[in-house]
């Protein structure tokens, strides 16, 4: 392909999504820190009147980090990785370029509108699917555009076989499409009755059915947004950064199908001891435990990729980020199944242990992997070396400390709360009133919020480092093959 020397990968869309990742990361995590402190210091609820209460902000935090930070992170890496593993440039197709740009702008408009409407309290109340129907339609449009971009690029590829990361991106696309559509089935009330707000809608499902659909979605939104695309990232970025081929490509393929088969069955574990049919609950429990296998298949594969190369951990902070990410992936995919065991769930459900579990997955696995991916992409997109290795090292330790503070305090808080709820005195009466179980947790809430604050500080360090890399770092002559160049 010598005649095509002038052809280069086109990262313009990937760059746009990189900025979006940083922007929404700051918004989402900042709100997260605020609401965490609100639980320890309730006075903080009154900073912005009606719009500043914990309950208003909580959906903003979850949607902000999931659909703002993480989704744009996924898109940014897709527009980077997709071209490279298919060996085709976006510049080769004007059509795909237009689709990519359109995808970005519709995405930005949708998410920014979502931020505003959630502040206003316009919500359907379903977790991670709070958006009302007009925004749901916008989400569908942007999702279809992403699909066109994926399959369009696949259609003009030079590499015949799809790399494993591509499998995971495609699975993300399909899985989220199906789940989102079904969970957001709703009837706009204005168009039926002619009264009231035009954007209000009512769920197509009622009660227990609604709960089943919601947690089938809720659980698998975690699967297909927090897990599948992040695996896509790590299967590309870790081998590329370290220069080591995947330890066992066969294992990666097998884990893929294992994950696809098993993940969707585990949603029932959110509804243990509720009014959904018993067998759905039991099945959710069993499949959650089975889920350890494909999850660890990927995680161990990643760790073994570094076999004999552990020295890189010392030299290259990016490898360190990614290895820690896969370690946290192992931790949270073990913790999840433990919580899904019925007797454990009886204690853990509704307590702070659950957000604790979520956050060691999201902060440790998802956050670290996304930031490492963007760090890896930056020198190649901007043709400059990374601004500061030292800053990266400190960011790593600040954030790791934050995560450890976060999940350890939430483990203790959750188990304390669960035990106190069920504690009885010698006559069999409940030993504690509800408020006793709240006040006892306040020190842990303070600790948790501080952990979150450390993580946010780390994210600002990341932002600064990225900004300096884009603007002020030393230019590099040619693209590095593996280890990203970085100034001390």
């Amino acid at each position: 392909m010598q005649e095509k020397n002038a052809l280069n990968y086109d990262y313009s869309v990937a760059k746009c999504f990189t900025y979006a990742t940083i922007l929404f990361g700051i918004i989402g995590m900042l709100i997260g820190v605020v609401i965490a402190y609100q639980m320890a210091f309730p006075q903080l609820n009154y900073l912005a009147g009606e719009y500043g209460t914990y309950s208003r902000l909580r959906p903003l935090h979850t949607s902000g980090v999931i659909f703002g930070f993480l989704l744009s992170g996924i898109f940014a890496t897709w527009y980077y990785v997709g071209q490279r593993v298919l060996k085709v440039s976006m510049a080769e197709s004007k059509f795909l370029m237009v689709v990519g740009k359109l995808h970005f702008w519709i995405y930005m408009i949708t998410i920014l509108t979502a931020v505003v409407t959630l502040f206003m309290g316009i919500s359907t109340s379903k977790e991670y699917a709070e958006l009302e129907w007009p925004l749901d339609i916008a989400v569908v449009v942007l999702w279809v555009l992403w699909g066109i971009s994926i399959f369009g690029l696949v259609g003009i590829r030079r590499e015949k076989t799809l790399y494993i990361s591509m499998w995971y991106y495609i699975a993300t696309f399909l899985g989220v499409a199906m789940l989102y559509l079904f969970n957001n089935m709703e009837v706009p009330t204005y168009f039926v009755s002619g009264y009231g707000k035009w954007y209000h809608s009512v769920s197509m499902y009622a009660g227990t059915n609604d709960a089943m659909v919601q947690w089938w979605y809720g659980h698998n939104a975690v699967a297909f947004v927090f897990t599948v695309p992040i695996i896509a990232m790590i299967y590309y970025f870790l081998p590329k950064e370290s220069g080591q081929p995947v330890f066992s490509y066969k294992l990666s393929l097998l884990s893929f199908w294992g994950l696809m088969f098993v993940y969707l069955w585990a949603g029932g574990h959110h509804l243990l001891f509720s009014t959904v049919p018993d067998w759905v609950q039991t099945m959710g429990s069993i499949f959650s435990v089975i889920l350890i296998l494909p999850s660890w298949g990927s995680a161990i594969n990643m760790l073994l990729t570094m076999k004999g190369q552990w020295g890189q951990l010392k030299e290259n902070p990016l490898v360190k980020f990614m290895v820690l990410a896969s370690t946290f992936y192992m931790l949270s995919t073990l913790e999840g199944p433990i919580q899904a065991i019925k007797s454990v769930n009886a204690l853990a459900h509704f307590t702070d242990w659950i957000p604790g579990h979520v956050h060691d997955g999201t902060l440790g696995w998802v956050g670290f992997m996304t930031m490492a991916a963007l760090f890896h992409m930056a020198p190649r997109m901007y043709k400059r070396e990374l601004y500061s290795k030292k800053l990266m090292e400190s960011q790593f330790w600040v954030q790791t400390t934050g995560i450890v503070m976060y999940f350890s305090s939430m483990w203790i808080a959750g188990i304390t709360q669960g035990m106190m709820w069920r504690a009885t005195d010698q006559y069999g009466n409940l030993a504690y009133s509800f408020i006793d179980t709240v006040t006892v947790l306040i020190p842990y809430y303070a600790l948790r919020a501080t952990g979150g604050l450390l993580y946010l500080v780390g994210f600002f360090m990341f932002t600064y480092n990225m900004y300096k890399t884009m603007t002020a770092s030393k230019a590099i002559a040619s693209e590095p093959q593996n280890a990203s160049p970085m100034a001390a």
Binding site: T53, S55, L162, S203, G207, T208, Q214, T275
Partner: protein, 221 residues
């Protein structure tokens, strides 16, 4: 066969989709046949209660309060009878929540009263010392949206056959009838409240959010 799938992105995508969708087809779809049947005595929400429910959703009360009593002695002692599937037959969306930062509210109407809620929403610490719940003073300022509540009731009645206007069931009627009924129901709650602001607004023909919310909370039994 395996390799063929790996080579053909289209069929690969179809394969992935089938594998992913299978769980939903087996576990989720069939249950739509059954579990929406209401238990005896469960009634759809009145328009005022629905307006309150919409405020509950607007302010995401479900972020901290569950509405699901699990079948354990420690829970039935604390909150009352464990939840039955049929009790949720008219809940669109369901509001089970996933976190109990505050107590369960499934049967809060059994043990809390209008004036308790009024004090609590103005200043939670005044009735529950040590509470970390924020005050919701804006609920005493904003008006409840009866129009949208009526729209929702009318929609579920026509689209999902929710039994409004059936014997022994809540009346819905036309918009004007429904509005009149909502005001009558609101009058009862306003009479139990202390806030002059709410009372005067009601005289002007405004139902504040707090009134509708209390109507909803009182209906949770």
């Amino acid at each position: 066969m395996f390799h063929w799938l790996e080579r053909n992105p289209f069929f690969f995508a179809v394969g992935v989709f089938l594998v992913v969708a299978y769980a939903g087809v087996v576990t989720i779809l069939p249950d739509f046949m059954e579990s929406a049947r209401p238990v005896v005595g469960t009634k759809p929400y009145s328009v005022l209660e629905l307006a309150g429910r919409q405020i509950y959703i607007k302010d995401s009360c479900n972020a901290c309060h569950s509405q699901l009593v699990r079948p354990f002695k420690s829970e039935t002692d604390r909150y009352g009878m464990y939840s039955l599937s049929g009790e949720y037959a008219y809940d669109r969306p369901f509001l089970w929540g996933s976190k109990r930062t505050g107590p369960d509210l499934m049967r809060v109407g059994n043990y809390r009263t209008t004036d308790w809620h009024e004090y609590h929403m103005l200043n939670p610490k005044s009735v529950v010392p040590g509470s970390i719940m924020p005050a919701y003073k804006h609920m005493f300022k904003n008006n409840a949206d009866i129009d949208t509540a009526y729209a929702e009731a009318y929609t579920v009645k026509t689209v999902f056959n929710v039994p409004y206007d059936k014997p022994d069931m809540p009346k819905l009627g036309t918009f004007d009838e429904a509005k009149k009924d909502a005001f009558e129901a609101a009058a009862v709650i306003v009479a139990d409240m202390k806030s002059t602001e709410v009372k005067e607004a009601f005289k002007r023909g405004e139902i504040k959010e707090i009134v509708a919310l209390v109507a909803y909370l009182n209906s949770l039994k």
